[in-house]
């Protein structure tokens, strides 16, 4: 049975006041149980797309939908259905991992979780037990990223948006991170990832969208990419050797 669209961008366009076109009629959708990677260089428009989904920016044209809700019309209701993790996950350094998780869980509407529930989620993301009640001050980036991922998991939102989630992680931590994403996909979450890491994109995603200069140049499924050299394809697209 065909899965419903959880995240959907309809001709998203963003032109700033200075005339810069950051996003130009970008359309795509992410279904439940699908990982969609937006691949592109810095300034390609990946983060702008995410900001439009989260209501941090208003589109000049087009509509971002989360679980069928128009973000521009009801951003607060739409945010109820999405969990987000940025590349800079400092969180609150004076709080412990569990306290950070508790705060964001309650913000996400999970008010009745117990200490053990939080511990289970932290175990799920592979954080060491002794770190559960430690302040985040001394955490490495990988550990903070795990807490951040726990925050996205605990919300139990149908959509997850991750902005450069593996940047700055060592290969082991990155692998652990991606393994968790596989589990979340298996649970039926729609996951949108922005990255400039071609190999990670190919490894994890069901669909890859290649972006450059605010345009979505191509959307390729895992099956389509099976026999393709994604790196070459990407470079061909952004150098204009292949027509979008």
């Amino acid at each position: 049975m065909d899965q419903p669209n959880i995240l959907e961008a309809q001709k998203l366009t963003k032109v700033y006041e200075d005339g810069l076109c950051a996003l130009d009629h970008v359309s795509f959708s992410v279904k439940a149980g699908e990982i969609f990677c937006l691949l592109g260089d810095n300034g390609a428009g990946k983060t702008t797309t995410i900001n439009l989904f989260l209501g941090f920016l208003n589109p000049t044209e087009g509509i971002p939908f989360i679980n069928g809700i128009d973000v521009t019309k009801d951003p607060l209701a739409a945010k109820q259905h999405v969990a987000y993790l940025s590349d800079v996950v400092m969180l609150y350094p004076n709080f412990t991992a569990r306290q950070n998780l508790d705060f964001f869980a309650r913000l996400g509407g999970k008010n009745n979780l117990k200490r053990e529930d939080y511990y289970n989620v932290l175990r799920q993301v592979g954080l060491q037990e002794k770190a559960f009640e430690q302040r985040l001050k001394g955490f490495s980036k990988g550990m903070r990223q795990k807490v951040g991922l726990a925050i996205t998991i605990v919300k139990e939102a149908p959509a997850i948006i991750l902005d450069e989630p593996t940047s700055g992680l060592d290969p082991k931590a990155a692998n652990e991170f991606l393994a968790i994403l596989h589990k979340l996909r298996a649970q039926g979450r729609a996951i949108l990832i922005s990255t400039h890491d071609i190999f990670r994109a190919k490894e994890i995603s069901d669909t890859v969208g290649i972006m450059s200069e605010g345009k979505l140049l191509a959307v390729k499924t895992k099956a389509e990419l099976e026999h393709e050299n994604l790196e070459k394809l990407y470079l061909d697209y952004i150098q204009g050797k292949v027509a979008a």
Partner: protein, 479 residues
């Protein structure tokens, strides 16, 4: 949602090392200011009591009311120890006399100039310098710091409105910082009780008002720095801006306002006024001598005897009339001079205070001094009370000496042998016959009236910066 955000804000501040250090420093400084104030008060009261006892003994050692040199001492007030204001600059002693000008001499700073250089550590200092700086340290990165840490986007990826977020920031900061600061202040109040400082009900109310004014001042800096934090993207820039505002508010504007006011409304120096008074007195004295000389010459010609009771009575009457004429003339001249100087000074002070009210700390200082009664009008109010008291003093002296004259007087006394000398010795004076001067503190109504404008300004500034922070955050770029 507001409750969750508020709880987080409170915890985030209270769990921080910055809070622990600043709270400890604030607590130590507050308690130290109370302790130093209490010790100073005890010392001042001791000095005051000693001075009074010595004065009474000096009077008691006299046998003639015309020879006494009574002194009135300004009694230290409990609130002066917490808000020094101008109290240490104002003299503490007055040579009491039935007529002539009254002067306050022997100020604390003139007796101990070292304190004039470094000043005392009082509650005013703690609120103006320490608490305002702490407010900035906590507020400067309240918004943009969260953006830099990435938590702002994380928070707003949830169902959180901007209004509830900024409200939680403002209320959380005020509660998390304001309430703990009350703890050392309350301990300080207990210290006042423990050390037996005689605080009346009115003085407790006034102390409460000073603390409220201090917390309002703290609130102004907190909301101001949060507003700056919501207007500037980078926390390093907002820190710099907040610090510049603090330096101007605490150091530059108050001093600058005085300089500016002195340029706008010039006032002759007190030395110039005193010189005019001295010249007038010297002229008066010269006239008095000439007239007295003429009077004696005319009497000598009529071959009156010094021992003649008619001569003595006539001389006393002459001196009394001379005294009255010169005293009236002097009083009128001095009063005109003083009033003119006072009016000019008032005008200058209005300018200085008006300009300085650009600064929240200056507003607090003016309010606190008005509440504590240590404002610039303190000396004037005290002298007014002293002038009223002088009427009672002069009346007593008139009854005792039969004359109101107390300066430059020729007295003819008869000496009639050893037995009378012994009688004179037995007639030692009783100092308790002189009415005691008791300074009346400002009433609650007057205290409120004197501080209402500045308290109102502090409330308005809190509201303005609160609203400013709110408005700035509504436009804040969350990305």
């Amino acid at each position: 949602m507001l409750k969750i955000l508020l709880e987080k804000e409170l915890r985030d501040i209270i769990y921080s090392t910055k809070f622990a250090i600043t709270f400890a420093a604030a607590a130590v400084l507050v308690l130290l200011s109370f302790y130093v104030g209490i010790r100073n008060y005890q010392e001042s009261i001791h000095e005051y009591e000693n001075a009074k006892t010595t004065n009474a003994a000096n009077i008691a050692a006299q046998t003639d009311w015309r020879q006494i040199q009574d002194r009135v001492f300004r009694k230290p007030q409990p609130l002066e120890i917490l808000v020094n204001g101008v109290t240490n600059d104002v003299g503490r002693t007055t040579d009491m006399k039935s007529s002539g000008e009254l002067n306050l001499i022997n100020s604390r700073f003139s007796a101990d100039p070292l304190f004039a250089v470094f000043r005392f550590l009082d509650l005013n200092f703690v609120f103006v310098i320490v608490f305002s700086l702490f407010a900035i340290l906590f507020g400067y990165d309240a918004i943009n710091g969260e953006k830099e840490a990435g938590t702002l986007k994380l928070v707003f990826s949830n169902r959180v409105s901007r209004a509830s977020f900024i409200l939680s920031k403002l209320l959380g900061s005020v509660l998390a910082l304001g309430v703990p600061l009350l703890v050392p202040l309350l301990i300080g109040c207990l210290m006042l009780l423990g050390f037996g400082i005689p605080m009346s009900g009115l003085e407790w109310v006034r102390l409460g008002m000073v603390i409220v004014a201090g917390l309002l001042c703290f609130g102004v800096f907190l909301t101001l720095s949060i507003m700056i934090s919501a207007m500037v993207a980078r926390s390093s820039v907002s820190f710099l801006l907040s610090l510049v505002v603090w330096i101007f508010s605490v150091l530059i504007i108050p001093k600058g306002s005085v300089l500016l006011a002195s340029q706008i409304a010039s006032v002759p120096s007190i030395d110039a006024v005193e010189t005019q008074k001295r010249k007038f007195s010297a002229d008066q004295r010269q006239k008095w001598l000439e007239v007295t000389q003429q009077w004696f010459s005319s009497r000598m010609k009529s071959s009156a005897s010094f021992s003649d009771s008619g001569f003595v009575n006539s001389m006393a009457a002459f001196q009394d009339s001379m005294q009255k004429v010169s005293e009236d003339a002097r009083a009128e001249f001095y009063s005109r001079l003083d009033e003119d100087w006072r009016n000019k000074k008032d005008w200058q002070e209005r300018w200085a205070f008006g300009i300085s009210r650009v600064s929240p700390t200056a507003i607090f200082q003016i309010a606190a001094m008005n509440i504590a009664g240590t404002d610039v009008g303190m000396k004037f109010r005290y002298m007014q009370q002293l002038s009223r008291y002088r009427e009672a003093f002069a009346e007593t002296m008139r009854k005792k000496t039969g004359s109101s004259a107390d300066y430059f007087r020729i007295v003819i006394r008869r000496f009639s042998g050893g037995q009378n000398d012994q009688e004179e010795k037995q007639k030692q004076l009783n100092p308790s016959e002189i009415p005691e001067f008791v300074e009346q503190p400002r009433g609650l109504g007057d205290t409120i009236a004197a501080s209402l404008f500045d308290m109102g300004l502090l409330v308005i500034l809190n509201a303005v910066f609160f609203g400013g922070a709110f408005a700035a955050f509504l436009k804040f770029d969350l990305r």
